[in-house]
């Protein structure tokens, strides 16, 4: 019994310690963000990597998400004779929930894992120590640009996801299943409110922060082996994905 209690206590303490370290990591990075030199070029480079290079996967995911919503929505609404409301069903689902969440999950898989691997390899090959010895703070040089780029890039990708997703629903609903095009657009116009849009923006900003924070942290504190780096990358992707879903629930309950 004592052994079980000891183990539970040990796990709890190490979890609290890890959470504390993560918070200090984030606060220190914010601290370095406000100090010159401001790494504008680094930030643009990261924005290109996280944002621009994710566009293809986002477009693909958004198109098929919109199309499947169009398909499912049409056959469900037809039972009640409400096919004309297809546009609003697709748009609200995408703008409020699916756009921010799916885009964030795709960015985690594509760019978040790469962030962990990149920083982790730099840790293992002592490149981070080399930055330190040259009196260049690694949080300022490596982590801060990634966090800023992610906070800017994810909302832009979500906006793209929303537009493509709604068009995906349009292609299936209007072009393939003969829903009236005017009804599709007018139902969107009638149903979507500004608070739905900015709710999605707030979500995507916070998801951008969660992805870059967790993925950079896991790479920065990876253990010094190839196996350790593999574990860190897996943990980063899994933890980011879970945090996105959990945070989405809390944010939705506040924004609704």
């Amino acid at each position: 019994m004592t052994a079980v209690l000891q183990r539970v206590g040990g796990v709890t303490l190490s979890m609290i310690q890890e959470m504390g370290r993560m918070l200090i990591f984030l606060l220190s990075t914010f601290g370095w963000l406000t100090r010159p030199p401001f790494r504008f070029f680094q930030m643009v480079k990261q924005l290109h990597f996280i944002g621009f290079k994710s566009t293809f996967v986002i477009v693909l995911t958004a198109a098929f998400t919109g199309m499947v919503l169009g398909l499912q929505g049409y056959y469900t609404l037809r039972r009640y004779g409400s096919e004309a409301a297809l546009g609003s069903a697709v748009a609200l689902s995408i703008i409020r929930e699916l756009g921010p969440v799916l885009a964030a999950l795709m960015v985690t898989a594509r760019a978040g894992s790469a962030m962990t691997a990149e920083i982790g390899i730099m840790r293992i090959t002592e490149q981070i120590d080399a930055l330190d010895t040259m009196a260049v703070n690694p949080l300022q040089y490596l982590v801060a640009p990634k966090i800023v780029a992610s906070v800017i890039g994810v909302p832009l990708l979500v906006a793209l996801f929303d537009v493509i997703g709604i068009y995906g629903g349009y292609i299936v609903g209007v072009d393939l299943l003969n829903v009236n095009a005017g009804a599709y657009w007018s139902s969107i116009e009638a149903a979507v409110e500004w608070k739905d849009v900015y709710g999605g923006i707030w979500k995507s900003i916070s998801f951008g922060l969660i992805i870059s924070w967790i993925c950079c942290y896991k790479g920065y504190y990876t253990t010094m082996s190839a196996e350790g780096l593999g574990t860190a990358t897996t943990e980063a992707v899994v933890l980011s994905s879970i945090m996105i879903l959990v945070w989405d629930y809390f944010l939705t309950s506040v924004l609704l």
């Binding site: 390899i121 730099m122 090959t125 002592e126 490149q127 120590d129 080399a130 330190d132 010895t133 040259m134 009196a135 260049v136 703070n137």
Partner: protein
């Protein structure tokens, strides 16, 4: 210049340094030898503040640095440079940009001057015309040379060498040792080197110290060190010497 007083360091339950007291003479090339896993690299990282001791003090130019953080530590680090085991070149930058990195970051010199200084250093280490290559395109020896050029470019007062010849063939090891010695004579910096290369290190070092069981077992000028009668030291330098001779015969 650099003084360590009773430095102790543990990682988890494993105590690596058990009370290292060591003084590095200014302007000299001091080599620290010892078995693998003894904590030589850990000791080196304490000198530049990459690791903090659990107990003890690290003094650099009369300043205790083991509890310094942020800008104060960075100010101390400005007089240092370090050549890492794997050279630690930035993968995403070319050799030229790697060597130029500290100049651009710290001195913010005009680009023309950066180019002159980097080209000059690359030529000194035998990498003239290689500036456009990425680290992945370089051999082990070339990476070490590029790392050395990056360490030298800021003209630091102290350079730390962490096993600069690890993974190199004997000829290349000899070349790197000669290069370090030549640069040391040319610029007069204080050098601390961690190495296993016995007996080669005796011909290039001014002082040699041996780390054994987390403490400094012996330290003496290079010529005197080879005559130390302590059995642990004798065993280490004799076995090391034999292995090295075998390598040469093959």
């Amino acid at each position: 210049m650099i003084k360590l007083v009773n430095v102790q360091k543990s990682f988890g339950k494993q105590q690596v340094l058990r009370g290292v007291t060591l003084e590095i003479p200014k302007g000299k090339l001091t080599t620290i030898i010892g078995r693998s896993g003894e904590g030589k690299s850990v000791l080196l990282k304490h000198m530049i503040g990459l690791l903090q001791p659990d107990r003890g003090e690290v003094w650099v130019d009369g300043m205790e640095i083991s509890r310094l953080r942020g800008k104060a530590l960075n100010d101390v680090r400005k007089q240092f440079a370090m050549l890492f085991q794997g050279a630690a070149l930035f993968d995403s930058l070319t050799v030229f940009d790697n060597v130029a990195f500290p100049l651009r970051e710290k001195l913010r010199l005009p680009e023309k001057e950066v180019r002159e200084r980097v080209d000059d250093k690359l030529e000194q280490v035998g990498l003239a015309g290689m500036g456009h290559k990425f680290p992945a395109e370089l051999s082990g020896g070339m990476k070490k040379r590029a790392g050395l050029a990056r360490a030298l470019v800021m003209e630091p007062e102290i350079i730390l060498f962490d096993e600069p010849t690890t993974g190199l063939d004997p000829l290349m090891s000899n070349t790197i040792h000669r290069l370090i010695l030549d640069m040391h004579r040319m610029f007069g910096f204080t050098a601390v080197m961690v190495s296993h290369e016995i007996p080669e290190i005796f011909s290039i070092s001014d002082w040699v110290a041996m780390l054994e069981e987390g403490r400094i077992a012996a330290m003496a000028p290079s010529a005197d060190f080879q005559r130390i009668a302590d059995p642990t030291v004798r065993e280490f330098i004799t076995v090391g010497g034999t292995v090295s001779l075998k390598d040469v015969k093959h």
